[in-house]
Structures are given as C-alpha cells and as structure tokens.
Amino acid sequence: MKRRTFLKLSAVGGAGAALAGCGHQAEQLIRFIPDETLIPGVATWKSGVCAQCSAGCGMQVRVMQGDAEVFRDGQFGVVKMGLAKKLAGNPDHPVSRGKLCVRGEAGLQVTFNPDRIKHPLKRTGLRGAGQFTQISWDEAVQELLAHLQPLAAPQAAVSLAFLTRPLGGQRGVLVERFLSGFDGARLVPFELFDDAVLRTANRRSFGYEQLPTFDLAHCSYVISFGADFLGTWNSPVAQSVGYGTLRQNRSGIRGKFVQVEPRMSQTGANADEWVAAHPGTEGLLALGIAHVLLKEHFGHAEATGSAGMQIDGWREGLPEYSPEAIAWKTGVAPETTTRLAHEIAAQSPALAVVGGAPLAHTNGMFTALAVNALNALLDSVGKPGGLQFTPRPPLSTSGSAQDISEEGKVDSIRTLAQQILSGQRPIELLLLYEANPVFATPPGWQVREALEKVPFIASFGTFIDETSRLADLILPDHSSLESWIDAAPESGAAEAVISVAPPAMRPLHDTRALPDLLLDLARRLGGRTRQALPWKSYEEMLQAALAPLAHHPGSVSAKDSDEFWKKVQEQGGWWSTDASLVPKAKAPADSSRPMKNQEPQFAGPAAEYPFYFLPYASQPFFDGRHANLPWMQEMPEVLSTGMWGTWVEINARTAATLQIEQGDLLEVASPNGKVRAPALLSPGIAPDVIAMPAGQGHEDYGRYASGRGANPIKILAPQVEPTTGSLAWAGTRVNITKVGKGELVLLTGGPTEWGAEKVTR
C-alpha cells in the first residue's frame, strides 16, 4: 500500500497521462526539443535481440512516441521520444521464429525499471554499505583509467579480472580483445546454471564443444533426462516452437515425449509419461535403455563412434546395466525401462535430451556421456529429427566466448575466489558486468570474501545487486533496447545465425553502452589494447565483423557492403543454411579412457539429512536475474501457481506423514546452512525430494526483489563436478522442520489436494 499513499482520489477515474496527458505534472515540466521526429501515435516495429538469456532470440520492438521525464544537461524535464512498447519475436529469425518466452516478453521492464542505475556512481560509504554518490562520466572514466594504466604496462606484476555473465557474440570478442592488452588478465564468465558439463561431454562424444540443437519438429520420440527444455534450459523458444509441431499438425504423427526427473518441471508436466528416477541415476537409466537396445541388436555398438567409446563396457553391450541391475538404484521398474527401450526402437527418429539437474551432480559427466552414447546408438546425431550443432557464421573476428576458453585465459569464479583468498594471483582490479556470483554461489566458495579483498572493483551493470553493491565505481551500461546489440546463438537453429540490431530507442538515463565505453578506454590506453580494438564505435566493429558474410549465400543479398549492413539491421541479423558453414567436428578428446559408472555424491549424511535438495531454475526468474521485474514477480510459476515469493515443494504424502500442511513455514537445513520458506504440497515430486525455485531471496536487488523469499543457493554444499569444476547444485541433502506458519502467495485459491481438482466440463 505504501506505494499509493501519496494520493488517492479514485473519484472519477483515470489519468492516462501518458495517453491523454492533460493537466498533469508532466505538462508543467520543461519540454525539451526532441532530437528525432516521430509520427505521434503511430507504431513502428524495429528489429532487436533479446538479452534476457544467452539464447540470442531475434526480436521485434514496437516503438511509439511518448513523453519521457529525463535529465538533459543538468535539467529535469520532458522530451518526446520513441519508446519501446512491446516485444515480439522476429518471424524471420531462425531461433525465435516470431516467438518469445515469458522472460523475453518482460525485457521491457528492464529498460523501464525504476531501479536502474541512472548515472555513474562512486562509492562513498564502506564497501558493501551501498552508499554511492553521483559523479560525471569524465570523472568516472578518468578514475577507471587511473586503475587500468598501471596494469596495461607489459609484464605488470598484478593483474585484472573481468567477471561477467557469459557473453556471446561480439561483446564477448570485444571484452576478450580488451583483456588481451593486459598480461595475465582473466576472463571470468559466470552463470549459475551453466552447461559446461554438457559442452565438455559433447566435445568428448561428438567433437563439438557447444550445446546441441534439437530438431523436435521432425522427431517422433523424445526422452528427456531432467532437461527443462520447454521452460528454462538451452534455447527454450526454439525448442517450444519445435515441440508444437512434435505434438500436432504432422498428418497422423504425434510424437511421444517421456520426461525423466524426480520433480515434475513445467516441461515434465507436458510429457506423456513422467518417470521419477532417483536423482543422479538418469545416466544409469539411459544406459539401461541402451542395454536393452544393444541386446536386441537395435543399432551397433561399433557404429556409435567415440560417443559409445566413452562408456565402459559399451562394446560388450553394457553387461552391468541390465534393467534389473539398475532398477534398485534408479527406482525405475525393469519392465518400464524395457518398455521405454522398445518404444524408442519402434519409433524413429527418436531423440534423447539431457540437461539441468542430472548434470549438476558429481557424476554429471557420466550422465551426459551416457545419454550422448544413447543418442549415438539411436543414430540421432546430425540427422533430421535428431540433435544437431549450430554452425558458426564466419566472422572476421573470432566467434564467441567459448572459443576464448581454448586460450586458457578463462577462470571459473571458484578458482578466482580461491586464488584471491590464497593470494596466488594478486587481482588489483576487478571489472564486473551483469554477473551476480555473490547471490548465486554457495557460501562455501567464499566469493563475497574474495571480492572484498580486491582493492578496486568497477561495475558496468545496469542494477545494484549483491555483487555490484561491492563495487567502488559504477559505470552503468545502456539497456539492451538502448544499445547496439548482437548475439551468435550457440544453439536453437540448424543454420548459422548472427543476430544484430541497432538501438530501438534512445537512452533514458545518463548511461553509456559498455562496448563503446571499452573502445573509448582502449583508445585512451593506447598500446596493445588500442591495436586489439581499432574501431571507433561498436557499430563499426560489428559492421567489420559481419563484412565477410556479404560474400556468403545467406538471408541478405546486397550489392555493396553498405546496403548489406543496412539490410542486416532491418532484418535483425544474418543467417544462412549454406552447407559450407557447417563446422567439422574437432578430434574427440581423450576417448581412450572410457568412463565407469559413478555414484552421485551428496553432501550430508542420509540419516541426518533424509531429503535430496533440488533447487531449480524458476520459470519467471531463471537464476534470479529477473526477480527485479514486477511482471515476473507477479507471474505465477505455472505448476505451483506461486507468486511474489519462494516455497518449499514437498510431496503431499510425505508432508502428511510429517503433519506438514500447505503454507506451514519450513526450515530447510543442509550441512551448509538454513533457509525458511512456506511449504507447498505437490503430487508432482518424489517423496524423498525437496525442491525450491531459485531466484528469490535477494538482499539487495531493487524494490521488487529485495528481502523477498529465500535463496536456496545459500544452503548448497560447495560440491563440484570434478572434470569441469562447475557447481553440482543438485548434490546436497537437507532436512526439514516445521517452524510455524508462512505466507504463501498463490494464484489459485482452489484445493491443494489434487484429488478434488478436476476441470468440470
């Protein structure tokens, strides 16, 4: 209610000020002369690229004229400017195909968010106290330069690290090149739900270190191991588009879809069959199915190439993985396994998908390899109706963030934290961009402590969050709608794609686009950095990068480079089915050492902590980055219908035995911490599993997210998947105790015992 206390009178209704705009305060403000001419009330759709996640969907942005309250040369007033009103998918774009996901639609509220950082800030209070003061861009840039220059010197003893969300496309390249000017500079991409395990596994099995693309549209049978591919995983929009065709309007064919996971996800809810295998045993089940297939001579063990060879005993037909043998571990009845195998054999093309929780166990690599092997056995790789690997457009600059990793300049946040704390590598300066590891890493990794030891932190982020709160200097970036934006989708399309779009609207606040800022810094630094980044503006860089594409057959045909560039902008990117672009598989790495089955390791003794703990990527918030958008806060998570908070999902029967009722406040305790959240009874979760949506429980992330709900990541054990060192976020056990009554905000007021719920037709 507080928000509306300043005035009340509803009497005689509304002030559509933005719309009619009569007699409203805005009318009495200074009116600046607009620097663009738009026809009032007429909408234009401009191309854009969705920056809500790394899928790189192509968008269209509906732009209309409106009155924006802005600061212009120190004065506050109103200016008529083009404003983004609505986002929609770009129909021509091979990834999004005219669609977006729920989080993508909400991208508008990032640009118009009241909590955006509106101008450069300098820390005044103690670090982490969140006291900042406004400074000018010149001051800000000067200050940053002062810290950069010493590091730019050759063989500088100390160095800098660039902590960022995984950057695709040219932004990634730009950052990488920027860092190349500093000796020992580290790029530290961080994302909670990263897919490092799957990438590495794909490299070992198929020779592509990237996420797969699924041709669901032509597939007849999909078995998915824990991958929430319709909701939050990989390229959800592209996969949803395919799923639509998987189900309907192929004459006579309706693809079957089986989901294997202990907690029913939004994706699982759509499955024809939902198999609740024990957490971490998905790989076993995959091999169990493979066992049956091999036994019944469906496909040949030899024909699977390196993918099969990754698995120990593959040639022998996986003797240890008979349905009976694995049944007691997976909790899946042998006949079920056998039946699934037979269904798969009967319906081709069939496809196995793995992602999410199964790979977030200590044995994630084994699971990934197992499912890859199954895919190879189903002969689904590179085939229609199977999985493919998106080709990379041949850009003049190197392609994307993944490629840098080979140059060994990349650290995980975990190693960085360790090195800082142990003093191995002195980090003088940390550059921070839209990554929030303080929120999204287990306390055991001591990220906060590490960052606090860094002498100087400069953040380019758009919002104050738990991590950027630690910054000494904040140079806010434009929003994705206000700046040149590009993406090179890693997956989601069978063809090579690069999405590029010019700014859809002018900046609302006194911010600067990160790429242009870095180019400016490079210019001022001179030397190697300057050579690495010769371009005057990011637009120039993009144009240069895409220049070679003009000579390829693709979505854009133009007579000269300028026209090409113009058309690319209009179209929102460039894509091509040109076969020559399809990359050759790299030599599969260490295929020599086949992998034996590994038991998943769980932190916490089973006796003391009887439940598997499963934090999951939330439908509205993903990993928590969208928790500051009011639309997302009020968007009910579809299965629980929960809004504005966190809850603990528990099997209704288990709850009954523990006398836990809907809405009871539960304390979820792991060996590494405790969180509290109300209980949500659900039939769609295994009796020995406790699940919590990630994304809430922010301490400091704007007015909508701060102090709301609980953060399940905070009780995770610092478990890692050994081969990649990425967080095994599903590898923790917990115990629950009832501590009172909680506040549960649900959209449905209906009964929670599912028996009573039936659509009355």
Partner: protein, 469 residues
C-alpha cells in the same frame, strides 16, 4: 365499514385525555436519555460515513471483497434490510384487510420500520458500487448519449421495485399520521405549532376527510401487498438470475419473501418491546399483542425451515460437482459454524419458545425475535458468500474475510436505522391515537370522527351524514 367488537384482552380502557397524554408525552417533553441516546448513535454511526468516503477515495480495495467473491457483506446487508422492511407495511396491510382489530397499537411502529429499513437498505447497492458517484446511471433518464439502463438487468428491476415500495410505504405510513399531527398541532404552541400545522396539511377532521382517509388506507393496503411481495422476489432474483452454483434456484423467490416477512416480524417485535419500555406503553402494547405476533413468527419460522430444507435437499440430491463444493463448505466446511448458528437462531431456539404458550411471554418473544434477527442476517451472508467462493473452476476459488470498512459501514447503517426510528418516535405519536380511540368504543365510525374532531377543537356544523352503523 362495520366496526367490530373488541376482545377483552385487547380492550384499552383509558380516558382519552390519558391516551393523549401518554402518547404525546415524547413529543412535548424531551428526556435527557433521548439526547444521550442520539449522541451515542451519531458517535457510533459517523465512522461509517468516513469509511465510506475513504472507500470512494481509495477504491473498493479497502473492503474485504476480492476475486472471485465480488459481493460480500454489503449485499448481505442490502438483502437483510430489505427483508426487515417487510415488517410493517406487509403485516399492517394484511391485518388491516382482515380487520384484525388488535393491530391498532402495532401498525404504526411496524410501518415506520418498513420505511426506514428500506431507506437504509437502498443505500447498500450504492455503497457497494465501484464508482458510487455514477449510481444515477441506474435510473432511466434521457441523456445526450441516448443510452438507457439495461432493463434486462435485475439490478435495474431492483431500482424500480425498491423506489416504488419506498414511495408506497411512505404514503402508507404518512396518511394515517395526518390526524394525529392535527392533534399535536392543536396541543402545540409556538415553533412546534408552526411545524405541525404544515405537517397536518390543514386536517380538520370533517367526515369527508375521515371517509377519504379510510378509503385511501384500504386502497393502499390492497396495493402495497403485491409491491411488497415483488420487491423481495426481485431481490432474490439478483441471485437466482446469475448462473452461480446454489444461486441459480427457482425456490429463491418465495424463499426470500418468507425469510423477509420472518425477519420483519422479528424486528417489529424487538422494536415494540423496546418502545414499550422506553415510552412506558405497557398499557397499550399488551402481552397479547406480543403473543399474537409470536404466533405469526412461529408460523414463519416453520415456513423458513421448510424452505431451507427444500432448497438444500434438492441441491444435495442433485449432487452437481460445482454445487456440492459450495454446499459442503456450508454444511461442514468453513461456514458450518455460521450455518448451524443460523439454524439454531432461526428455529431451534425460537421454535420452543414460541410454540409453548407459557413461554410466549413478552420476554420470550423478545428473546426469540432477537435471535431470529441475528439468524436471518447470517442466512443472507451464507446465501451471498459461500457460493461465490466456490464457482465452477476450482482453480479460481478464493476466500473472503470482511474488512474493517465493511463492518464499520454495517454498524454505521444500523445506528442510522435506530437513529431514524428514535427521531420518528420523538416527532410522531408512535401509536396511532385516532385509530386507538376508534377501536376503543363500539361507536359508528362517523361519530368517532365527530368526537375526534370536536375534541380536537374543530367546530363542525351539526348536520352529520348518518354514515353506516
């Protein structure tokens, strides 16, 4: 008309002057108790107005109603008050028509209840509007937009029914007061005299006037009955016309009317009981009156039980999933407590009291009636809320908790009702003097008229029409 003889237990053998003194006392002398009472009523009632103002300024959100329970206490109160309003006009009209002579001391306080309860009840549809200030769009009037109200809407019917009933019962109340005001006029002096001179509309008490009054009253009595019935039927149709589980029922019309008369009589008995004590009318409102009304109440109580049984049985037997949800929530869910309270208030408690002659004393009927009044409010509440909580799609169900605003406004209107009644009893002889005297002696009507007239100091020419004897 043939004056009927009066059974002894109703006979009031008091000197005319005494009657006048008794009945006019409240008008001519004001006790301190009166001012205290008025003060408290205003003090308790005023917050209601502020809460309503606040509701208009902030939005309906201050009320407890929410999606999908879009109607709450407001509408419950509306139905309740309209129900109460059936006390007077209906009863007194019936009694007049059947010439139940014992009615005489009862009718006026009954009719007063009608008018005021209606006035109060009619506020609620406006209070519960999201944009009260546009309520007049319910009225048909020629506007430049050329838009008329939607005559298919039960709310529109409500508007006509209630306004008609209000006008009718007001006339029904005022007509027989005129002679009494004349009496007051003749006794009063100064300021008060001037007021009552206007109110008395120059009543002189000529036989023609008496005759006209008599005729008018009979016409009104006949005319008001169908109106009264229709009003509550239409109120019931507000619910029955909407396809909401347990609302969409044919029994609602008669069910509501019965309930209305039921609560009406109860309210009347309570009012009489209080007046009797407050204004020392022991001589006029005798146990027999209470006993008679008690019998009436008993009948209605039985009728009410019959209706609620019939209504709920059919729902239960029909066993439609959508309806059963609401049904069980009332029988054994959230609302079970309220439901069984209601049943005991409307039947279990009053029935024995009213059925056993020994218990049907003034106190007895008072107790019975007050429980009935409470019970009937609960009934209205249970009709409005539980079905809305359980509409067809289980996903959409919700729960309703009344807010301070709703309760405050409810209290406010209750005080308003009492206040109006108190003021009325202050300004008007709450028992019809002339009727009382009419019933007192076995005299041909015209002579009563003459005597009344002469007594009231009006000099008539001696040639009297020898009216029926």
């Amino acid at each position: 008309m043939a004056t009927t003889s009066i059974a002894p237990e109703y006979a009031i053998d008091i000197k005319p002057d005494q009657i006048r003194q008794d009945l006019l006392r409240p008008i001519f002398q004001t006790s301190r108790r009166f001012y205290v009472l008025v003060f408290f009523l205003v003090a308790i009632g005023l917050p209601g107005i502020f809460l309503y103002a606040n509701q208009m300024s902030e939005g309906m959100g201050v009320a407890g109603i929410t999606r999908p329970i879009f109607w709450g206490i407001y509408i419950a109160n509306f139905v309740f008050w309209i129900g109460i309003s059936h006390a007077g006009t209906l009863i007194s009209a019936i009694l007049r028509l059947v010439n139940a002579t014992w009615r005489r001391p009862v009718t006026r306080c009954a009719e007063a209840i009608t008018v005021f309860a209606l006035a109060i009840g009619a506020q609620y549809p406006i209070i519960h509007l999201g944009r009260s200030w546009l309520f007049f769009w319910l009225m048909p009037y020629p506007s430049e937009r050329g838009i008329w109200p939607n005559f298919r809407s039960p709310l529109c019917w409500d508007f006509f029914a209630i306004s008609t009933y209000l006008t009718g019962s007001t006339a029904f109340l005022l007509l027989p007061i005129i002679p009494d005001w004349a009496v007051v006029r003749d006794r009063a002096s100064g300021f008060r005299k001037r007021i009552y001179t206007i109110l008395a509309l120059g009543w002189r008490g000529t036989p023609r006037e008496w005759h006209r009054l008599e005729v008018a009253m009979r016409i009104m009595a006949v005319a008001i009955l169908p109106v009264a019935i229709s009003v509550h039927t239409i109120v019931s149709w507000d619910f029955a016309m909407a396809p909401v589980p347990m609302w969409h029922s044919t029994v609602f019309g008669p069910y509501f009317v019965a309930g209305a008369i039921f609560s009406g009589i109860a309210a009347l008995i309570v009012a009489m009981g209080i007046l009797r004590k407050a204004l020392h009318l022991e001589e006029y409102l005798k146990p027999s009156h209470f006993s008679n009304l008690g019998k009436l109440l008993l009948v209605m109580s039985l009728l009410w039980v019959y209706f609620i049984f019939a209504e709920r049985l059919t729902v239960w037997y029909g066993n439609q999933p959508a309806e059963m949800a609401a049904f069980w929530s009332i029988q054994r869910g959230r609302f079970a407590g309220l439901f069984w309270t209601m049943v005991s208030c409307n039947f279990l408690i009053p029935f024995p009291i009213l059925a056993i002659k020994k218990l049907r004393t003034i106190t007895g009927t008072m107790i019975a009636s007050s429980t009935v009044v409470v019970g009937m409010w609960l009934e209205r509440f249970l009709i409005v809320v539980p079905p809305l909580e359980h509409k067809y799609l289980p996903y959409e169900w919700g729960t309703y908790h009344p807010s301070v605003t709703e309760i405050g406004i409810a209290i406010g209107t209750l005080c308003g009702m009492i206040l109006l009644y108190v003021l009325f009893a202050k300004l008007v002889p709450i028992i019809s003097i002339w009727e009382l005297k009419g019933g007192q002696h076995k005299k041909p009507f015209a002579e009563q008229a003459l005597s009344a007239a002469s007594r009231s100091g009006v000099h008539l020419d001696s040639t009297l029409p020898s009216t029926n004897s």
